[in-house]
Symmetry: C2
Subunit: 326 residues, 2 copies
DNA sequence: CGTGCACCTTAAAGCGCTTTAAAGGCTCCC
DNA sequence: GGGAGCCTTTAAAGCGCTTTAAGGTGCACG
């Protein structure tokens, strides 16, 4: 015999399919008695709704569009988590990759074309007004990114960078530099966090040009000067930097301490063991999906903004500076 | 105005929705003239089929079940690739995690319950007869695993291990040991490959107990004896081994050469840079999905078996043995 | 000129679920 | 006793696509 349908449950419960549908979705209407009978019947039969039929009848696609920078491992992690979490909520994900700057627009178009009900923009750096306009077309959440007027979910980047810097200062470092992440609001926030920490400690901040990738970090190695501590924009760049340092015979953390940002899988490897700032990917994702869901269900119209606390993860690449030790 | 429906295309093309449906799916029936008109109309309107409606009418769920060992990074990679590739083919993926031995049965039950049309078992080591029985219930493909009587897709593990061993031998190593992967057909195949290569070279094979994880590899470090070359069951264990060696002050590849298996993301890291055997994940996935698709479309009833060629990837952890150098 | 046949085309019946308008039952009160 | 008014329940009409059986058409052939 085949899998039970809504109609089978209705028969078993002695009511109509309409009632069953209402009960199973927790919609108001059915009486307590019906509710109980229906739930029992559904349980008894092991009923599982047919997603396709449900979506069809509801005229929804159940699809979420995600715009991501393919080259970012942190984005990969977010996407992976999104895949799991959105599946749990009955959403499909359509991934739209963007490469450099304004390709985002094209990715978004494709996603909208493909019936996505809402968009999640990972680390967007598009102008705020464009985002607002887009948001009028289709609900949108900026994940790991800022823009006033649209929903956003992110970690307090400034605070994260500040804490990483303070960690180095607390270890006794004085000559601490920051390898930045190039243009973009997130890089700016992290940079500011670093600068604030330095200034507050009465030290002169020094920022070295960096970027998002391993190569950028490796390139920055040449500009460290006499620094004994380095905070890097993200883990990828930090790993590149570590690699360059090791190859140059510089001991980490013996000679130089390094802290990254993202707590990407990379940083957790025994070989790398990088001190970094964790972004709590599952929480970011969960909040983002909440915003989307509440928006789609019409439970919300104001702009939602979630800022999560960063968490410093101290691993093996940070230690007191050489001069502070015997 | 809303997105075009099948009916709109039919109107534009001046024919019935039935014809349009037939044409768009490439089904036989419609004449060339109709075909051309329909395609033009669809293109013109920018028609995109509604997946939910299509699945509903076709009484399919569009869902594939994947059973994976969560702890394996190689499986993660396969899953990631599967997610992308199956989305491309219009399939949803349901991931069923299994932990140790016979949990696979439970994972499979859940997946079948959830309307999966077919199952992909990653690295299964369940008894062949059980698999055959299961295959009768729902089409199944063993990915990275062997079992006679059911579809399977894998790399030639024996050959891969043989080539890795031969690579070490060619570099001049004589004392080469193999760290095995514990029970399971795959581990056995790789072990056999190593033994064949050694025997063929007139050397005595020596196998050290290992396992799938980093800790297993690290533990094996103590048993290497005077070996100058090591082939390891997989990359995870190899990385663990490397770590243990480095901590013990053994230089790699200066004192000992190490080769892994899987070409996992781990091995590609600059820090690790592990010589390994690549499994061509995209190809594995593509073939697996092909088998599934052809089976579901009823184009095939014989058992399909795909064995791909492994590819040795020489990186930085293998070099001539110390004695062979100045 | 009918017939028969091969091809195309299409009307229509769903797929399993949602949703809405209307029916059905109650209670309550005049 | 007969509505009015309220709460439940349900019949029925889709959602957009697939599929099948039946209906044309045109052509070769007798």
């Amino acid at each position: 015999m085949s899998r039970p349908r809504l109609a089978d449950v209705a028969t078993a419960a002695g009511c109509s399919t309409a009632s069953v549908s209402l009960v199973l979705r927790g919609a108001p209407g059915p009486s307590e008695a019906t509710r109980v009978r229906v739930l029992a019947a559904a349980e008894e039969l092991g009923y599982r709704p047919d997603r396709a039929a449900s979506l069809l009848a509801r005229r929804r696609s159940g699809m979420l569009g995600v715009v991501t920078d393919v080259r970012s491992t942190f984005h990969s992690e977010l996407v992976e988590e999104l895949l799991a979490a959105s599946a749990r909520r009955g959403f499909d994900l359509l991934i739209g990759a963007r490469s450099p700057a304004r390709d985002e627009e094209r990715a978004v178009e494709t996603l909208i074309d493909s019936r996505c009900e809402a968009l999640l923009l990972l680390g967007t750096s598009s102008p705020g007004e464009w985002l607002v306009a887009l948001d009028g077309q289709v609900p949108l959440v900026a994940v790991t990114g800022r823009a006033s007027g649209v929903d956003s979910v992110r970690v307090d980047d400034e605070r994260g960078a500040r804490e990483a810097t303070e960690h180095l200062l607390a270890l006794g470092h004085r000559a601490v530099v920051h390898v930045d992440g190039g243009p973009g609001t997130i890089a700016a926030d992290r940079c500011r966090g670093y600068e604030r920490a330095m200034t507050a400690a009465g030290l002169e901040p020094r920022v070295v040009r960096g970027g998002h990738g391993e190569a950028d970090g490796a390139a920055a190695a040449a500009d460290l000067g006499a620094a004994t501590g380095v905070t890097v924009f993200n883990d990828r760049a930090a790993v590149g930097l570590l690699d360059a340092l090791v190859r140059a015979g510089v001991r980490v953390p013996g000679d130089v301490s390094v802290a990254g940002f993202d707590d990407s899988p990379l940083s957790r490897l025994a070989h790398v063991d990088l001190t970094t700032v964790s972004q709590d990917v599952p929480a970011l994702v969960e909040h983002a999906l909440d915003l989307v869901a509440r928006r789609l269900d019409g439970e919300r119209d104001e702009v939602g903004e979630v800022v999560l606390a960063p968490r410093l993860v101290v691993r093996g690449t940070t230690a007191p500076p050489p001069c502070a030790r015997p």
